[in-house]
């Protein structure tokens, strides 16, 4: 069963429907134990970084993410879900992130922000979730991004370009995160989701 963590307002329905297309059982829930035990956990991103962290803390989502990583259980974080894995964001300096990674999320240095629309992803050569969709476009909508992550051996970043090169997806141990919305990226996005569910054997 794939659990989609429900911790605030937003469009969770698209993620649910897109994941159902992969043939998996899907449940939108805030139940800690269900989310901990699920074969895959999806952490969508909702609103601003600070607001997102507030909601996440209310359902102990930070603990869930850390614990699942520790137990090597698969988690997929989407959009602001990727950003909250980092230590902090310029968007909400008063809120601490989950802090799996030490960087600070920065504002995209572009004239027109948010970065909105279909952009290319230069996928990591060793990525499993981009198999068969290495050259596709995905749908982005965000104003902040991780621009210069620390290089570590088990972190596989994929890149996109908007005002600067930024991390558009990352794979780290049992964690996958995308800055774009796979559930809104047409057939390419559905393919990424089914690659993920296949990879984790959900």
């Amino acid at each position: 069963m794939i659990a989609i963590l429900d911790y605030g307002s937003g469009n969770l329905r698209s993620a649910e429907q897109a994941l159902l297309r992969t043939g998996e059982r899907v449940e939108v829930t805030a139940d800690f134990d269900k989310c901990l035990e699920a074969s895959g956990l999806v952490v969508p991103g909702v609103g601003a970084f600070g607001k997102c962290m507030d909601g996440l803390l209310r359902v102990r989502g930070d603990e869930l993410i850390r614990k699942r990583l520790e137990l090597q259980r698969p988690t997929l974080a989407i959009c602001v879900g990727l950003q909250i894995l980092f230590a902090q964001s310029i968007e909400s300096p008063e809120s601490a992130g989950v802090g799996i990674f030490p960087e600070v999320v920065e504002r995209l240095p572009a004239k027109v922000v948010p970065h909105m629309g279909w952009n290319k992803v230069e996928s990591n050569r060793n990525s499993e979730v981009f198999a068969g969709i290495e050259d596709e476009r995905f749908y982005f909508v965000h104003s902040y991004a991780v621009i210069s992550p620390e290089v570590s051996e088990d972190l596989l970043p994929s890149w996109s370009d908007y005002g600067a090169k930024f991390v558009s997806a990352l794979e780290y141990r049992s964690l996958v995160a995308t800055q774009f919305h796979p559930e809104k990226s047409g057939s390419a996005g559905l393919k990424l989701l089914s690659n993920w569910t296949k990879k984790i054997g959900a």
Binding site: S14, G47, A110, K111, V112, N119, E136, K184, A188
Partner: protein
């Protein structure tokens, strides 16, 4: 080959967007010249699905229902659409409270466009941006040429028939400062005329807008879309030309690609 001269590109790879708009009333698609003479022309979910498969980059539902009773049907439409269509869906028309936004997002909308309610109470923009983020909020502006305003453009309501007594450029700047994440600029002079987008207005808005700009109103042939993008729009939106099949989304994208603009070419 990049023949575009637009100075607004932020990315060597971001595609310009082609958006199909469906005007919806009581669960059905309608569209008429200048919002008069509405014709019934189909099931919104079916039509949205067709546009999705034809390569639309986004879908917009504009709910033009007059009553709250009619308005309830839009939630059901959004739910059904979200089951079938995995590209961004914007819903507008009659959105006037945080509860409206919450309901629509939960039903499966990705973005909400606000128009009249924000004119009446601009703080609504701040509140939506605070609670849901700027990325969900499209400020929709029905603008018209009017010399008595400093910029030469005024904001209108009621399908262009009433003045909102606001200068369009000043209102746009205010809306963006308050937290709107995108601008849907509809020319009420051109809406439904098929005479082409109001390019001067697009250029004027582009000069002051730091968020993505969608041009709407007046598309008649494929060339019009290229001109709107060349004038600074990040996205182009049309309803009736797609709707009645006089132009396909594919034709628009091919034309844009021939001009050197980047489009999303891989479809469903």
């Amino acid at each position: 080959m990049q023949t575009s001269t637009t100075p607004y590109l932020n990315s060597p790879s971001l595609a310009v967007r082609v958006i199909a708009c469906l005007d919806v009333k009581a669960g059905r698609v309608v569209k008429g010249t200048n919002f008069k003479d509405l014709k019934d022309a189909g099931d919104p979910v079916e039509l949205a699905s067709r546009y999705f498969h034809d390569g639309a980059d986004e879908i917009t539902f504009l709910d033009i229902a007059a009553s709250n009773e009619e308005r309830k049907t839009i939630l059901d439409l959004v739910r059904r659409t979200a089951e079938n269509i995995f590209i961004p869906l914007t819903v507008g028309g009659g959105v006037s409270s945080l509860e409206d936004v919450d309901r629509l997002l939960r039903a499966g909308a990705d973005k909400i466009s606000v128009n009249t309610a924000a004119l009446k109470r601009p703080k609504l923009i701040d509140e939506i941006a605070r609670d849901f983020g700027s990325q969900v909020l499209v400020i929709s502006i029905d603008a018209k040429r009017e010399r008595s305003f400093a910029s030469g453009y005024e904001v209108t309501t009621h399908g262009g028939t009433r003045s909102a007594e606001k200068d369009a450029l000043i209102w746009i700047k205010e809306a963006v400062d308050r937290g709107a994440g995108e601008i849907l600029l509809n020319s009420m002079d051109r809406d439904g005329t098929k005479a082409g987008f109001d390019l001067e207005m697009i250029k004027a808005v582009r000069e002051v807008a730091s968020v993505p700009l969608i041009a709407s109103g007046g598309a008649g042939d494929v060339q019009d879309f290229g001109e709107a993008i060349s004038s600074g729009a990040d996205a182009v939106l049309a309803a009736s030309v797609f709707h009645y099949g006089s132009i396909s989304i594919r034709q628009v994208k091919n034309h844009l690609a021939n001009l050197g603009f980047i489009v999303r070419e891989s479809y469903e």
